[in-house]
Subunit: 243 residues, 2 copies
């Protein structure tokens, strides 16, 4: 806290705000704000550096794309010792799919911080994934490979990468939970409430009760996703019983 305060004191208000926004997204202290500023700059802003080179997120996106691919590859290598090269390649492309990246960028609400001459409403869906990749590139340049890897674990792998689900063994954790409760003659209910917190994006929080006890919680940008997250957590919490 003291370090943050010192950094804030030595910067302008604008820098201080950006620092806090980043710290919240990243989960650690960013060192070089300029790199992150680039990661949020769209080409329409027409920024140039002293040498006349365009300053926008596109080059960082190139870097972040390959970083993500490498980190996911290593995770799959470790987690699936029985998977051959073809299997690992197929699983990786599911995880780093355009659709999935867009979802990740959207969940972090990265578009809120974009510097662009174009209105936010007129971007297509890919802007979310592009900003997410650019952010990974920026993290690598700012803090190196390990920080980038940790961020990917926290924001991509832990919440979303589920090998059983990717393999199609489990399509929906919610239906899995429901079937299990019916088979075991247990009652269940999902208690959902809208919650915006301090964020500009609306979030949904959900508690999953089984036989009247809270088994797990979920929080996401849609009711469906929050329920699925709570169900997934319940699945792991109860794995022995459900096995």
């Amino acid at each position: 806290m003291k370090i943050v305060q010192n950094i804030l004191n030595s910067r302008s208000d604008e820098d201080g705000n950006f620092f806090l926004v980043l710290k919240k997204i990243l989960g650690f202290n960013p060192k070089h704000l300029d790199i992150y500023r680039k990661a949020f700059t769209h080409r329409s802003a027409n920024r140039k550096d002293a040498q006349g080179n365009p300053v926008n997120y596109e080059r960082l996106e190139f870097l972040g794309d390959t970083m993500l691919s490498t980190i996911i590859s290593y995770h799959l290598y470790k987690e699936v010792p029985s998977g051959d090269e073809g299997y690992l390649t197929k699983m990786r492309s599911k995880i780093v799919s355009r659709e999935h990246l867009n979802e990740l960028g959207k969940d972090l609400n990265l578009i809120a911080y974009i510097n662009s001459k174009i209105s936010k409403d007129s971007f297509g869906d890919n802007i979310h994934g592009n900003l997410f990749e650019a952010l990974l590139g920026a993290i690598y340049l700012d803090r190196g490979y390990k920080y980038c890897e940790r961020f990917v674990y926290r924001k991509v792998i832990e919440p979303y990468v589920d090998i059983e689900r990717l393999e199609g063994k489990i399509i929906s954790y919610k239906s899995f939970v429901i079937e299990w409760c019916q088979k075991e003659k247990k009652t269940f209910r999902y208690e959902v409430y809208e919650d915006s917190g301090n964020e500009s994006l609306k979030h949904f929080s959900v508690k999953l009760f089984i036989d009247g006890n809270v088994i797990s919680k979920g929080r996401a940008t849609s009711k469906k996703k929050a329920e699925e997250q709570a169900s997934k957590r319940a699945y792991y919490a109860l794995q022995d019983k459900m096995g």
Copy 2:
């Protein structure tokens, strides 16, 4: 040297030999010989682990391929600040081309250490690139990202990656040197001699003389490559004059 001796003493002769071979290829001490053994094991050897999973280099190749791509991407990002995403992608695919990887594996003579039921002569050219990628995967698992990056710099980027040449601005350094000498009215000659050293692969060493003075040296697995390497070094040594 003392450390190496201790490691050697504590291992079998076979391990000791493999350790020394690896140390020479890698330029550092390998820690987990098993990982490297896997990197040299072809599927035809039919090795399996205790769980029945196949043990061969194919999964390591998957890992090495993405590591190489990431390390080259970062190098290009740094070195070509004016290159946009499309340019960086194009340059990367030139550097990590199948042909180039095969050359790298061949130069390190990796096939000499392969464990396979198939005769070495019956492999196609791709075996060289596959072994090179698997070796990168093994380095990452054994010593982490930084060691892998340093190895790629020493074995790929420093000797082979030349952005001006990849851009097609310079096709051959040898013809560049010859033209320059003719224009500047200087004499030149390449002095080549075959040299096998301790390696099983034949090497060629070359000295480039300009006006009777040794300007640069080269060493490679063909006369042509050694001359090109010496010419490239001369190009950089004389860059101010040649500019």
